[in-house]
């Protein structure tokens, strides 16, 4: 599990490269920015198009040739949509579900991950394997048995169903465990000698050390809940419980030709995520970074 064990000791000496050293720095930077700019543009192109379409009239969306910049910016689309769809309710529901699920996932996931990573007991690895294996099963396969259970418990058409189904996922446990594995056992051992219980170690040592991973798990869970369509579609029937994705899809289904309005809805549905991501970005990237390499 250590990262660097495969690193080569030496590199066979090739012939020296005759490239000019001085002056290359500036050229390099320029080149790097150009490459970055090009790559970013390519990656963002569909999104740019999405935003641009959101500001057009319906019949301008498919104009030939493509108009990247709208002839006139119809900001009114962004005003109108609030009257067309109860977007505020949907956003609120999505936010509530995403925050709750992310919170529970982080709480129980990190707790369980500590058990898997740092407490040794028989049967632990088999249990962990069961966790991992479930990631490989497509949800559609057990959707109906799950639904039947929820129906019997009379939890369908409540937020409970979605929360209970998504808050205890295996992914969070996996991610957090990988992270805890990277924290040296000596640290826990020292704490034990100091008289700290396992719970104390979790609380006092692991949690503070794993803040980035917690943040990244929270964000990932938040994003996946926010973007989930099938779960809310199957379980949430009443319109007042609908999430943004349900609302957006229903809007697309009913007003197929209102391309500009659809794009406006899409932009608005993405916006909250973007804001959260920008705030949490630093933690986020560091978080996955550290847990990611412990393959």
């Amino acid at each position: 599990m250590t990262t660097l064990q495969d690193a080569p000791q030496t590199v066979a000496p090739p012939e020296p490269s005759p490239g000019a050293r001085p002056g290359a720095g500036v050229a390099r930077t320029v080149l790097a920015y150009a490459a970055l700019g090009a790559a970013t543009l390519l990656v963002l192109l569909p999104l740019v198009w999405m935003v641009s379409s959101a500001l057009k009239r319906d019949n301008e969306v498919f104009a030939i040739p493509v108009e990247w910049i709208p002839r006139e910016f119809r900001w009114s689309n962004f005003v109108e949509i609030w009257d067309r769809v109860p977007l505020l309710t949907y956003l609120g529901n999505s936010a509530f579900l995403s925050v709750t699920i992310a919170f529970l996932q982080v709480l129980t996931g990190s707790f369980a991950a500590y058990g898997f990573a740092k407490v040794r007991f028989p049967g632990r690895d088999a249990l962990f394997l069961a966790y991992i294996a479930t990631i490989a099963v497509p949800w559609q396969a057990y959707m109906v048995p799950q639904y039947i259970m929820m129906q019997r418990a009379e939890l369908t058409n409540t937020f409970w169903s979605i929360i209970l189904l998504q808050a205890f996922g295996a992914f969070g446990v996996f991610l957090m465990r990988q992270y805890y594995m990277s924290i040296p056992d000596d640290l826990c051992e020292a704490a034990r000698i100091d008289g700290l219980s396992e719970y104390g170690i979790y609380r006092r040592i692991m949690l503070p050390l794993s803040k980035p991973a917690l943040a990244s798990l929270a964000l990932l869970t938040f994003v996946s809940t926010w973007n989930d369509y099938m779960g809310p579609f199957i379980y949430l029937t009443s319109n007042e419980l609908w999430t943004v994705q349900l609302g957006l899809r229903s809007f697309v289904g009913q007003y197929e030709a209102e391309y500009a309005m659809i794009m406006t809805g899409a932009v608005l549905s993405v916006l909250p995520i973007l804001v959260i991501f920008l705030f949490g970005q630093r933690y986020f990237i560091r978080g996955i970074a550290t847990s990611g390499l412990k393959g």
Binding site: T3, V11, W49, R120, F121, I262, A266
Partner: protein
Amino acid sequence: MAQATAPGPARVRRSRRAILVGWSFILPNFLGFALFTLVPMAAAFALAFLDWDSYGTPEWVGLENFEQLIGDENFHVALRNTLYYAAGHIPLTLVAALALAIVLNRKLRGVNFFRTAAFFPYITSLVAVAAVWNMLFNPTAGPVNQVLEALGVAEPPRWTASTDWAMPAVIVTSVWRDMGYYMVLYLAGLQTIPREYYEAARVDGAGAWQRFWNITLPCLRPTTFFVLVMLTIQSFKVLDLIVVMTDGGPGRSTLVLAQLVYREGITEGRFGYSSAIALVLFVIVLTVTVAQFRLNERRNTP
């Protein structure tokens, strides 16, 4: 994982207590996980050996569902398409993610912006992604084909409107969507490679390509392994993107296994048969993943 299994001598004594403590950590999550994931999953797999139409009493049919699978052309088509998708999605995403990570692993002003941008497709909602890409791939008015025509391609592919190009269109979209996520993993891997390695190589006169080949790639192997496993699982389970982009069409050209599971089960109500397909899919993914673990272990212990 191998290290974790070896019991430290100091801990053997405390075994019973350890079980209690260990379970106390796992329990809160496990209760929810077992009840809402494991139990339904076990029920679903049991269904593979039953005949059940979602209403009446299930009937035991043994391996009948699996025998039916062997002769089912839809299953063959879906299996082939799934493998096709995986064969395209896994390597392309891997390469794209690695390339992005290398480009973005620099100390440049504003690099965070670029990283965020690259990660953005992953967090965008699927509904929006599908709508945008379908418009981009529009065979007559779509920007993709307009660009191709401007570049002198006389008859650009008809993308989602053609059986040959629908899968490539789906793969392109999925690579675009996922590469940012794996890029972040690679970025993390890159940041752990000690600078001294590169400096030593430079002193030895190694070119950029040689440094990449002899230092970067080997040092990234653990990351690559992790990415590969996650990508494999994800590729074999693909459904959402296909449903919103092509819904398996035209014809059956983008029909994948997970979609067949959905169709046979939810749409047609043949839950036993649907579960049998899911079980086969599960076994395939598990086999590939275990093989990847084995290969990885062998490589790590020369």
